[in-house]
């Protein structure tokens, strides 16, 4: 997608969207492709997954704890 096409999906001002795209590109979460005068942005799925994977075990740890809490308290309620 071009920056303009992306920006049209948000209420945010165009320069703000550009700034966000710039940061996401610096973090390698987006990749740029020059096509004539236009720049197309692509999602870097591999990098996205890397970022998600960093938090995922921590999230999973809490998810397991909270699932346990829910199960225990449901039994507690029916007592």
């Amino acid at each position: 997608m071009t920056a303009g096409a992306i920006a049209s999906n948000f209420d945010t001002a165009r320069p703000t969207v550009s700034k966000h795209l710039q940061i996401l590109t610096e973090c390698e979460l987006l990749e740029q492709e020059q096509n004539g005068r236009e720049i197309y942005y692509h999602i870097n799925a591999k990098k996205m997954k890397e970022v998600a994977d960093f938090i995922e075990p921590f999230r999973k740890m809490w998810e397991d704890r909270f699932n346990k809490l829910e199960t225990i308290m449901k039994k507690h309620k029916s007592r």
Partner: protein, 154 residues
Amino acid sequence: MEQKTRIRAEDGRQELVITREFDLPLELLFKAYVEPGIVEQWMGTKVLKLENKKHGSWQFETTDAQGNRYRWNGVIHEFAPNRKITRTFEFEDMPFGVQLEFLEFEQLTDGTSRLSMHIVYESVTHRDQMLRIGMAQGMNMAHNRLQDIASKSE
């Protein structure tokens, strides 16, 4: 699969927010944080002390499979039943620093509730270190499971 537990950890900030919606009335969710016997069950830890009041303190202890004992503790700054707990959290004898936790409990419907845990760390480095511990624990659990399966197949 739907993820019930969400974590918001923005880059370069020394805090994170964990949110979870429970299929439980608010009172039961709060009770799970207050009654030592129940805390022990879902946290998988021993509760040495849990004083649910302002200026109260708490201390938990866990023993791992190798018999190593770990303790953590903190002070309760605010205790508002069915609404909010503000407390500190610190691992004993570990260089992780102390963290400040804001636990907010909210009723959604008669039978559902939400918990939001806002945790503030000493620095961005401390926060990322804690996230990595989560990763290490996840790896450990995976290894333990692997070991269980492996030893059963022997």
